[in-house]
Each structure stands twice: as C-alpha cells, then as structure tokens.
C-alpha cells in the first residue's frame, strides 16, 4: 500500500473539514461591510448626531408614563379612537383578503398550468410583475395618493391598507398554493373537471389552514398599519398620538399608547390561539422547504376534525370575525360611491397629468438619498436582527427545557417581561418612535434607523420566539440527558437549528424595512422620505414620481438580494 492510497482512504474515512470560504461566510462578511458602510453614511464618524438639548423633553416624556391621563371623558375619546383603528384594520384586511385570494390564484403557477397545461405560461409572469409594484409602495404613500382623489374620506385608509396588503397576500397565497401537493388537483383535472371547480374542491381546502393562518397574520399587520395611517390624518389612535405628541401632552399620549398596545396585544393573542388550535402554529412560514407538504395535509385533517367536533375557539372566532366585520363596515362608514364617481375619475386624470413626465433633473440628489435610505434600512435591520435574536430566547416559553426551569417565579417574570417589551416595541408605529428620537438626535438617517429598528425588533423577536417554541424538543432532551449544560444545549442544540430560519426572517423584515424607510422620513428622519415630504408640501408631483421610482428600484434591489441570500442559505 503506497502513501497515496493511505491518503485517499484517510480522506474517505474522516469527514472533510468544510472550507471557511463558503457562501455563508461570504454573505456574513458582506453584511459586516454593509453595516460599516451604513454607519459611515449615517455620519456617525464625522457629524454631530446627538442633540443633548433634547434630554429634558425625553425625561418629561418618560415621567409622564407614570401618570397617564385617565379622565372619563378622555377615556371615551380613547375608546372611540381605538375602535376606529380597529375598524380600519378589519375593513382593510377584508378587502386585502379578497384581492389576495383572487390575485393569489391568478399569480400562482399551478393555476396557469392547470388551465393551459404549458410549463411556463406568460400570463403568470405578467400578473406577478403587476403585483410587485403595489407591493413596493408603502401604505402611507398609497394613503397620500388616495387623499388626492378621494379627499378626506375613511375610504382612503381602507384602500391604502387593502391595495398593498392585497398584493402581499396574493404573493404569499400563490406561494402556498404552488407548494400544496397537486395529486388531488391533477386527478380532478384529468377527469374533466373545470379548473375553477377543481381548485375549489382540491387545492383551496387543502391549503386552507395555511391561508387562514396567514390571513390572521395580515390582520395583525393591518392593525399596526391602521395606526400608522392615522398620521396622515385618517383618524384613530395614530392620529391622536401624533396630535398629543405635537402638543407635547405626554400624559394623554401615554393613554393612547397603552390603548394601542392593548389593541395590538389582544389581536396577536387571539390570532396565536386560533393558529394553535388549527395546527398552524407559525405566524409566517417562510418556505424553507422543510417537511411542508406533509404538514399541510395533516393540518387540513386537524382542521376538518376541529370543525367537525366543533372546536369552540375556531367556531367562536369565525362568528366573532363576522360580527367584527359588520361592525367595522358600519363604524368606518366609508363612501364607496366615490369609487365610481366621475369626480374621482377627473381628479385621477389630473394627478396623472401633473405627474408626467417625471422630473429627473435632480438625479445626483436622488442617488445620494437612495444610498442613505439603503443605509438606514441596513442599520435598522442589523440592530433589529441582533436584538431580536437576543430577546427571542427569553421570550420563548419552552426555553431550556421548561419542565424544571420556567415554572420558577424568576423564569415566568423574565418571560412575561420580555414578551411585554416585544409587544410594546412592535405596537408603537415606527414614525412615533422616530418623533421621540428626534428630540435627542438631529434629523438624519440615524433617528430613522433606530425607530425602524425598535419597531422591527418587536416583530422579529416574536417571530423568532415562535421558531424556538416550535422546535422539536427531543434532541434537546437527549442532550440534557447526556449531561449537557444549559449553555451547551443552547450552542449545540438550539442555535444550529434556528439560525437559518432567523436569518430568513431577518431578510424578510429587511424587505419590509426598506419600504418603511419612507414613513420615518415623512416625520423628519432622513433619506428619500424626507425629500418626499418636501415634494408633497410643494405639490411637486413630477419630482414625486421620480422619487417613487427610486423607491421602487431600491425595493426590488433589496428583494433580489434577500432572495439570493435566502436561496444560498438553504
């Protein structure tokens, strides 16, 4: 046996040390570089950023938290504002689900394949492309656009939620439909059933639990969004919070903030309970190609069983949802006749005429601001991601094998506290966070980035905690049984199995973040959003369109990077 042979055998028996230069480390290095670049863009190394003069106001704001305004008349106003935000959220969700279902079927590959039986039909790509544009534009921009054609009507808020959310829902629904096993559908199609009927009898009921679960997740988002829309004058809690912040009445502001946290918290809680009972425990399944098809089938069965046995929660929830829907449409009292009135049409034509051709004379300014906006989103997601990971572990209710641990008083306190912290940070809309940070930071991308980071930290922390809760407990138990310490279980049992999903969530929230940079810009943090405010107040529609085009390009760029990274991490 010569040396070569031995070497060869050696290689075969011992697993090869993985090269350090793989795609993961490359993306990691790129991430670090991006964060450093973003910090540079924020001017951290060269300009005055902290405005020490603002501390007195921040202190006043914090002290006010101990004595929120609790006058009866004022509480009544708070209740009205809360109901209004809720009603906008419900109506917006209802419409976005209708759009989402229709759009989702039309943009799913499987639908076009079942009606034309061609591998890559063009209409599919066309519909996908047209759904990508409404998705790229934030609800608030939609709202500002609709004010121009519908005026001060509740319709503005409802449509501003419904259109972008409808497009997002359509995308997710189409992905769910495409990933659902097709055998039953094919069987129906092959026996001559028309595609629509075949869908109604096979794919849709099969994927129903996932669709329902996502619908409830959208509802949670709609509530948050309805609060944001208050800021452009749609009324409700966001509007009241902004007013009390503008008049520096912090005691009143805290009452509204508490109401918003309660509203957001109870929606989250309801939706989590419901999802658990239909066996789709994750808010948002980012398709990481786990054992999904199987679980879908299982879910359908559990749902069917639940419905047959009349699971109380599901039944009550459905009735409650219907009641809420009727109440909301009544409470919002939007003027739907405006949708088809000739005046609307004239105004729409007017806005379009004013907007074209887009003004591209300020190309250089747009370019630098786009770079700043990108930097803002990177900083925001870096802080939110790291913070979210750190907080998700204490927020998960099964952490470190609960049997002996979390029943202790200390464990429960930590759990409740971190959960409340996450709820609080995500319930407060990012622009409100931005306004608070603008007391102590100069306008620029840093206050915007921090505001977005705090809001997204709450969302990411919750999503990640769910990942941890849904982990298979068996490997952890066996590690424990083998005598591993808690930190070892964490390092070798939990982290390796959660990190890739965490990264997927972070990337997904990054896509959301880049869209949301505009809303913190609107209240005076930097980037393209601030330019947009200036253009809005100058009625410079031509400039506005070019800024929006920049935004859409940025969004597509971020989506592209995120999709590439996610693919390489699979």
């Amino acid at each position: 046996m010569n040396r070569k042979d031995i070497k060869g055998r050696f290689h075969r028996t011992l697993p090869k040390q993985p090269s350090l230069l793989n795609s993961r480390t490359m993306w990691g290095l790129l991430f670090v570089a991006a964060v450093i670049w973003s910090l540079h863009e924020s001017g951290l190394f060269e300009r005055d950023l902290v405005n020490v003069g603002g501390w007195t106001l921040v202190m006043r704001f914090l002290i006010a938290a101990t004595r929120p305004e609790l006058d009866v008349e004022f509480l009544q106003l708070t209740l009205e504002a809360t109901l209004q935000t809720l009603a906008y959220g419900v109506c917006g969700t209802a419409f976005s689900l209708i759009f989402g279902l229709v759009g989702g079927i039309l943009s799913s590959e499987v639908w076009w394949q079942s009606i034309s039986l061609v591998k890559f039909p063009t209409p599919w790509l066309v519909v996908r492309f047209f759904l990508a544009i409404p998705r790229a534009i934030h609800e608030l921009i939609w709202g500002l656009f609709f004010i121009n054609i519908f005026g001060l009507d509740p319709l503005v808020a409802v449509l501003a939620i419904a259109i972008p959310f409808g497009a997002i829902t359509a995308k997710v629904f189409s992905e769910i439909l495409d990933e659902t096993p097709r055998q039953p559908l094919m069987a129906l199609l092959n026996s001559g059933v028309s595609p629509l009927n075949a869908f109604v009898y096979s794919l849709i009921p099969q994927s129903f639990p996932n669709l329902l679960s996502y619908a409830f997740y959208r509802f949670e988002c709609s509530i948050r969004s309805a609060a944001v829309l208050g800021i452009i004058g749609a009324g409700g809690l966001g509007y009241q919070i902004l007013l009390s912040l503008q008049s520096l009445r912090y005691e009143e502001m805290w009452t509204f903030l508490i109401a918003l946290v309660l509203l957001s918290g109870s929606t989250d809680f309801w939706s989590a309970m419901l999802r658990r009972s239909i066996g789709a425990p994750s808010r948002l399944d980012l398709n990481l190609h786990l054992s999904k098809p199987k679980s879908t089938l299982q879910n359908t069965q559990t749902l069917a069983i639940h419905l047959l046995q009349g699971d109380r929660l599901v039944k009550v929830s459905l009735f409650a949802a219907i009641g809420l829907l009727i109440f909301s449409f009544w409470y919002v009292n939007a003027d739907f006749t405006k949708l088809s009135s000739p005046q609307t049409f004239d105004l729409l034509i007017g806005v379009i005429q004013d907007s074209f051709p887009p003004d591209i004379t300020k190309f250089y300014q747009l370019f630098t601001l786009s770079a700043q906006t990108l930097a803002m989103s990177i900083l925001a997601i870096a802080i939110a991601g790291i913070g979210g990971i750190l907080l998700s572990f204490p927020a998960a209710n099964n952490l470190l094998l609960p049997e002996d641990n979390s029943h202790s008083l200390w464990g429960i306190t930590v759990l409740v506290f971190t959960r409340f912290l996450l709820l609080f940070t995500r319930a407060i809309p990012a622009p409100i966070w931005a306004l608070i940070f603008l007391f102590v930071l100069f306008p620029g991308i840093l206050p915007g980035a921090i505001a977005l980071a705090i809001h997204n930290l709450g969302i990411l922390g919750r999503l990640m905690a769910e990942v941890i809760e849904n982990l298979d407990q068996r490997p952890l138990r066996s590690l424990q049984a083998l005598g591993a310490t808690n930190s070892q279980i964490f390092l070798y049992g939990i982290l390796p199995r959660t990190l890739s999903r965490f990264v997927a969530y972070i990337l997904y929230r990054w896509e959301v973040c880049i869209r949301a940079t505009v809303i913190v810009g609107l209240v005076g943090a930097g980037g393209l959003g601030r330019l947009l405010t200036e253009q809005l107040s100058s009625f410079d529609y031509k400039g506005l369109v070019s800024t929006l085009i920049c935004f859409i390009c940025l969004t597509f760029l971020v989506d592209l990077i995120s999709a590439t990274v996610r693919r390489s991490l699979r």
Binding site: N51, G53, L57, D153, L243, I322, S328, F442, S537
Partner: protein, 304 residues
Amino acid sequence: MKNFLLSGLLLLLLPLAACSPSTSETSTQSKTEIKPLVTGAIPDQDPQKLQRQYTKLAAYLEKQLGVPVEYKPVTDYAAAVTAFKVGDLDLVWFGGLTGVQAQLQVPGAEAIAQRDIDQKFHSVFIANKNSGLTQFKTINDLQQLRGYTFTFGSESSTSGRLMPQYFLQQAGIKLDEFKGEVGFSGDHDKTIKLVEAGTYNAGAVNEKVWLQRVKSKEVDLNKVQVIWRSPSYYDYHWVINPQVKQRYGDDFVQKVQTAFLKLDPKVPEQKEILDLLQADKFISTKNSNYTQIEAVGRQIGKIK
C-alpha cells in the same frame, strides 16, 4: 368544506350589502337638506386650540349665512390644500404660501378676507437663553446663527419657514451652515417648546402666536427670548372655493366676505371670536396681494 367556504364567502359579502342602503339613504337625505359649508384651517398651532376657535366661528357663520357650517380638522398643511382642491373644504384659513398653492390649484379660488395684522405680518426668531445668542440689530446679524442648531415650523409655513428661509438667504446663510440638520418642528407651538427646552438653540415662529403665548404666560421668558423681528409681508387669509357659487348662489362669496368684515369687537360674542383668532377686525383682501409670496415660493422651490 365547500358549504363552509360558500357560507363564509356569502357572510363576507353580507356587510357590503348591509352598507349600501345606508349610504344611499344619507345621500338622498343630503339632497333634500342643504349641504353644509365646510370650513377648515391649516394646523399651525396646537390642534386643540384650533378646534375651539373654529367651532365658535362656524356657529357665527351659520347664523349669518343661513346655511349649515361645519369645521373639519386637518393634520398637515399640504393636506389642507389637497382637501381644498378635491372639494372637501369650501372655506379655508390658509397661510400665505398654502393660500397661493391653493389659488394656483383651484382656478377661480378667491382670497376674500384677512385680519388687519395679516397685511403687515412678521416672523420672530427666538433663541434659548443658554445658547448665548443675543438681540440682532440688522438682517446681516442673522449670520451669527452659523454653527447653532435651528428649527423651522412646518415645511409649508409662511411665517415659520418660507419667509425666515428667505431672510436667511438674504443674509447669506445656507441651511447646511447650521449645526446638525435644520429641523421642521411641525407647528409654531412646537417650535417654541423645542427652543424653550433647548432641543434647538434657535427657531423661527409666527409673531402673533409668540405674542399670544407670552401674554397667556405659556412661555418661560427666563429660557427663551426674541432675537430678531423680520420685515413685514402678507400672510394669512381666507380662501373660498368657487364651487360654493353653484351650491348657494352667485352672491354667496360676497355674503361670506361681508360676514367676516361685519365681525364687531363691540359685540361680546363676536369679540370672543376675534380674540380667539387674534384679530381686532377683518379686512378684505385679494389674490394679487400675494405676488411677493408667490415669487419667494418659486425661488425657494415651494411652488413649481
């Protein structure tokens, strides 16, 4: 499953059906009744103060004009202009710049009345006493603001942004010469509070709002002081939408103007309204009074 889905779908549609009769009901109702005249105002001050002022005024106008009048609050300056353009607001209390924007966007919109003080309006530059800034004598002294932090009011404010920025420009100061970035507080009250708290060293505010807050002792004069009073310019005015002529008759614009000019400080109720609006009396005005504002607006880029 199918039944379940179908019934779900039907139930989703139910509220839509339930909604439709009620909306048609309200629209037929409004045909028989007179559609109200909707007034509004740019949110230049504390919104709660505005609400009080304008509901009082609406009551007065209702009595004088014989048509229902209501006040609709708006959250920002640009939204007030947009709502005026779309026709949701008929009669709006605009600032100089927003008024010009509104006149340019709605052909036939007329400036009809303003307070006696609005034809010679001033901005004041205020500073926190700890900043070390002292009284300026001439416009060129504005150069001393270099290197300090500074805030305007709303982006579209005439007295809180447009004219101050114009005077700064005249004195040769560029906005990037301030420390950090220039702030936009949102309204005059907020500018005063931010400068008082020291968040910004200095700021520009509407003189009338400043004097009133001083009078009602809402400002701590140990912390803030006026450092410069600007030259005068035309500012606030009422602008009326031409659509009211179709709705209430050709002479309606005239009637509204008369109602404003008739406000008499000797009548206690009317004095209260005048006091709330910080006016001694109202005088008539016309679109052409605002050519200077329009020119400055174009120069600064707020009018395209």
